[in-house]
């Protein structure tokens, strides 16, 4: 379950060591934008040691490496892959070739280290107009790609427009990302809401992202984690309905019915799939019960 993903700057020990208590389902240890060029070496070694020796509890660890147009990304992977991160986030991913470049180097490292093939997944960060247009190709470029991630700040710069709280300027990109990810069968995560002092705005922004089909949303401040978790968790009403769907299917099967209806509506395969996802999430959140 990955509702919230919290960016943490890679060169700040006091923040990284508190990662597991900040409430996010995943943390993104950042070696890219949050680290000054002169401190890339320092952050890389710190993140490597943190992953090796610190506990992150139930929090999933993702590492954002530097982009493939820099001299840093291979060194980042050399240090991080042996620590078996759940996912690597390559930034500024614009084409399927970009994914394949990172994939090939991770494969080399996995083989050298005697690791299981494809042990480490990818969550490409798409933050350019070209990346958005290539979103499906990126999402289906490698078996490693488990999700794609929209970066709204760099994207608006590339689009030559201003980033606003309402986000109209990225609405096309958001919809396109969701469609591309679902077509490729991977998850999709929304850009952070960057006004860290706006405790209302984060709810609106997260609800909008959820309504479009995003799996979850990222944050640059721990203040936004609670709102994101709330919005992307199933409500008790959703959970009750999911159990009703599964019960109706069970009874229908017992009675040998080909088609099953609930509250006057036909229950088809997508409704059952959604009900199963809701129940799985409810169980993980401790809100589930015996079906």
């Amino acid at each position: 379950m990955r509702r919230s993903m919290l960016f943490l700057p890679g060169n700040t020990p006091n923040i990284i060591q508190n990662a597991e208590i900040l409430g996010a389902d995943a943390v993104i240890l950042d070696l890219e934008d949050a680290v000054a060029p002169t401190e890339k070496d320092s952050a890389r070694i710190l993140v490597r040691n943190a992953m090796r020796y610190m506990g992150f509890g139930r929090c999933e660890v993702i590492v954002r490496i530097n982009s493939i147009d820099t001299d840093f990304w291979r060194k980042d992977l050399d240090a991080i892959i042996p620590q078996r991160p759940s996912l690597i986030m390559p930034p500024k991913t614009a084409t399927a070739e970009d994914v394949k470049t990172v994939d090939a180097y991770i494969s080399e490292l996995e083989e050298k280290l005697g690791m299981e093939k494809n042990a480490v997944g990818l969550i490409p960060l798409i933050e350019t107009a070209l990346g958005v247009e290539n979103a499906f190709k990126i999402a289906s470029a490698s078996k490693r790609v488990k999700a794609i991630f929209l970066g709204g700040e760099d994207l608006t710069a590339d689009l030559h427009c201003k980033r606003t709280k309402e986000g109209n300027e990225i609405s096309y990109a958001r919809a396109r990302m969701v469609c591309a990810a679902r077509a490729a069968g991977v998850e999709v995560y929304d850009t952070p809401f960057t006004d860290v002092n706006d405790d209302e705005g984060i709810y609106t922004d997260a609800e909008y992202a959820k309504s479009l089909g995003f799996t979850g949303k990222s944050a640059i401040s721990p203040r936004h984690v609670k709102a994101i978790n709330e919005v992307f968790s199933p409500s008790m009403k959703d959970i009750d309905y999911a159990y009703e769907v599964m019960e109706a299917i069970r009874i229908g099967k017992e009675q040998g019915k080909g088609a099953v209806a609930l509250r006057g509506k036909m229950i088809d395969a997508p409704i059952v799939a959604r009900a199963q996802q809701t129940i799985e999430m409810a169980v993980e959140l401790g809100l589930g019960r015996e079906a």
């Binding site: 700040t12 020990p13 006091n14 060591q17 070496d41 320092s42 070694i45 710190l46 490597r48 040691n49 943190a50 090796r52 020796y53 610190m54």
Partner: protein, 89 residues
């Protein structure tokens, strides 16, 4: 074997971090430690510094460690970074 050929620093003076300065030294390793938790963890900090220097093949250096309550793995990271920055080819 790595030789420290230039002064190098790593880390910060922020809470939970450590600021490490490494300088060329003629004979052996000399460590100066300033730490808010020196009484409780001084020997452990010195051990971590010495171990990293040994792992990096550094057998002569002056090391100034200003600790702000850093975890062991942070101290090790900062010393390693300072060595990488200060060593010759």
């Amino acid at each position: 074997m790595s030789k420290i050929i230039r002064r190098a620093t790593a880390g910060t003076l922020e809470s939970s971090d450590v600021f490490v300065t490494l300088e060329p030294h003629d004979s052996g390793v000399e460590i100066e430690l300033d730490s808010v938790v020196r009484n409780q963890f001084g020997p452990a900090i010195l051990k971590a510094v010495e171990e990293v220097l040994a792992e990096c093949g550094v057998n002569s250096a002056k090391v100034i460690v200003v600790d702000r309550g850093a975890l062991d793995c942070v101290i090790r990271a900062r010393v390693e970074t300072a060595v990488e920055r200060g060593k010759g080819e």
